[in-house]
């Protein structure tokens, strides 16, 4: 049996042992509903409060600005639909349609939320281009702003190619524009892939809303946060109890929240050291692959890139095949190829960079984490070479021939 090597940390991360230990008592000993006022409820509520303090400290905001959700998908939906709902509820906006600005390569939960709102006739949406590096231009954003612009939502770090968006710069730009506007534009960022490595001080970023998820930072799945700056015009989108300052109804996932609180504490302690270590490993991987493997390209910006992300396109292979051959060798990675996801067109992110479909189909995302070692990368690279050779033999020169016949 091969030793398994996990290089898919952008998909999810294992729960840190310290985090797990903190969570365990809250499953069946301290099981109370944090909304109950008796002993059991108070114990859970106290632990939730402590977690909330940790998060507020991490993001440099107040505790009332931390809204616990089920994860980044819910946080993003709440941000977009909650802001729009507040706009629609305001009588002075009657008959008006709000304008939202986002990018072409957001996570599908943001893109689909925007597309749904367009279909329902509730919003008009501008999708900013990301160019070959996978980075938007603030000037494009400035040009896109209209009288009815309500919300700007831009992801901090792209989940597939790891390119970093100039969030602080956009924040400043919007603050400048807002100073002259009656109807302030609200700024949201999906920081799911950024929290572990980049500055998430909400004051420095000048964001009104920020989404994150616990399971990308060695916390449990099913819990996340939406930071909501005090005074932001937003309403709940799910009706029920008055939990989370009446913004998110539903019994608190106290065990998960407590895990997230611990995960953020552990992260804060080691962030600079881990970022440096992971970036060095990532640079080693990129250098080796580009040097030693023929017909390969790195997708996304080389320099403005998440420390844990490498995304390559290999010619004459298809991503799902590559993924499965690597899996058989014990290597867990990810692909932007449609063929592995059950949809028919390849990654909208890679196509947005201007890649040809076959380049997008032949892509591989390798994402590192705090448990990644150089030894693992050495093994991975050797397995990658082996399976590429095998698959390139199977495809022969069929692609070249296809294009020569087309001419």
């Amino acid at each position: 049996m091969n030793k398994k090597i996990y290089l898919d940390y952008a998909a999810t991360t294992p729960v840190d042992m310290e985090v797990l230990k903190t969570m365990l008592p809250y499953f069946s000993d301290e099981f109370g509903n944090a909304s109950s006022i008796h002993y059991f409820g108070r114990n859970a509520a106290d632990a939730v409060t402590a977690a909330r303090e940790n998060l507020a400290h991490f993001f440099k905001c107040t505790e009332e600005e931390i809204i616990f959700t089920s994860g980044a998908t819910e946080s993003n939906n709440l941000a977009i639909k909650g802001v729009l709902r507040a706009y629609e509820k305001d009588k002075k906006n009657k008959g008006k349609i709000a304008h939202i600005i986002t990018t072409v390569f957001e996570h599908s939960c943001v893109l689909k939320a925007c597309q749904e709102l367009e279909k329902e006739g509730r919003a008009e949406v501008t999708y900013l281009p990301v160019y070959s590096e996978g980075i938007i231009k603030p000037a494009d954003l400035e040009k896109a702003i209209k009288e009815n612009t309500l919300l700007v939502t831009v992801m901090y770090v792209n989940n597939e190619i790891g390119s970093v968006q100039p969030i602080a710069q956009i924040g400043k730009l919007l603050a400048k524009i807002n100073a002259k506007r009656e109807e302030k534009i609200i700024f949201h960022t999906d920081a799911t892939q950024a929290v572990a490595y980049f500055d998430t001080n909400v004051k420095r970023l000048s964001v009104d809303l920020l989404s994150m998820s616990a399971h990308k930072i060695y916390g449990p799945k099913g819990v996340g946060v939406l930071y909501v700056k005090k005074g932001t015009r937003i309403t709940q989108i799910q009706d029920g109890g008055a939990q989370e300052f009446a913004l998110r109804a539903g019994t608190l996932n106290s065990t998960g929240i407590i895990g997230l609180g611990k995960a953020i504490e552990v992260l804060a302690k080691n962030k600079p050291k881990e970022t440096k270590k992971i970036k060095e490993l990532r640079d080693y991987l990129i250098k080796k692959v580009l040097k030693e493997i023929p017909s390969v390209r790195l997708n996304g910006s080389r320099s403005k890139r998440s420390p844990n992300n490498a995304n390559f396109s290999f010619s004459d292979v298809e991503g799902e095949s590559l993924l499965l051959y690597l899996d058989a060798e014990g290597m867990a990675v990810s692909t932007g190829s449609a063929c592995s996801s059950g949809s028919l067109s390849p990654s909208h992110v890679l196509l947005a960079l201007g890649l040809k479909p076959e380049q997008a189909h032949g892509s591989l995302r390798i994402s590192l984490g705090k448990y990644t070692t150089k030894k693992e990368l050495i093994i991975f690279i050797s397995k990658l070479k082996k399976v590429l050779e095998k698959l390139r033999k199977v495809s022969g020169e069929i692609l070249k021939e296809y294009y020569s016949k087309k001419k």
Binding site: D316, C339, K393, S395, I398
Partner: protein, 128 residues
């Protein structure tokens, strides 16, 4: 997405993979947009009853696991068959021989029977 054992077997150890020198017919189907390109090479011999039989067959494929597995499977199904019978092999026959394909793959990556028909057509054209 779950693949059958048979698909994984053919995908990881494809049969009749490679180039056939001096083929009697060649068929290529698919396009890079969908992600799958397949090429089938055949050699045809007339047997004692004057039937035209596929005596050798090879394939090259750029594509996902099911594209490679269906290519491999069709070479097994077609080898030794009369070209009339071979051209009647359908997508469903290939999928069935592989103990099924995931539904989404039935259309996009199950082109092997078309590649075989194209190779047989190419052979017939050359004979005219």
């Amino acid at each position: 997405m779950q693949y059958s054992k048979e698909v994984i077997n053919h995908f990881t150890n494809p049969h009749n993979q490679g180039v056939l020198k001096n083929p009697d017919g060649v068929g290529m189907v698919g396009n890079p947009t969908c992600g799958d390109l397949m090429k089938i090479y055949i050699k045809v011999k007339k047997d004692a009853k004057k039937c035209e039989v596929i005596s050798d067959i090879k394939f090259e494929t750029l594509g996902c696991a099911s594209a490679i597995a269906t290519s491999s499977m069709i070479t097994d199904l077609a080898k030794g068959k009369d070209i009339k019978q071979a051209s009647k092999i359908t997508r469903d026959d290939v999928a069935e021989a592989l103990n099924g394909l995931p539904p989404v793959k039935m259309h996009c990556s199950n082109l092997a029977s078309e590649a075989l028909v194209a190779a047989i057509e190419d052979y017939k054209k050359k004979g005219e």
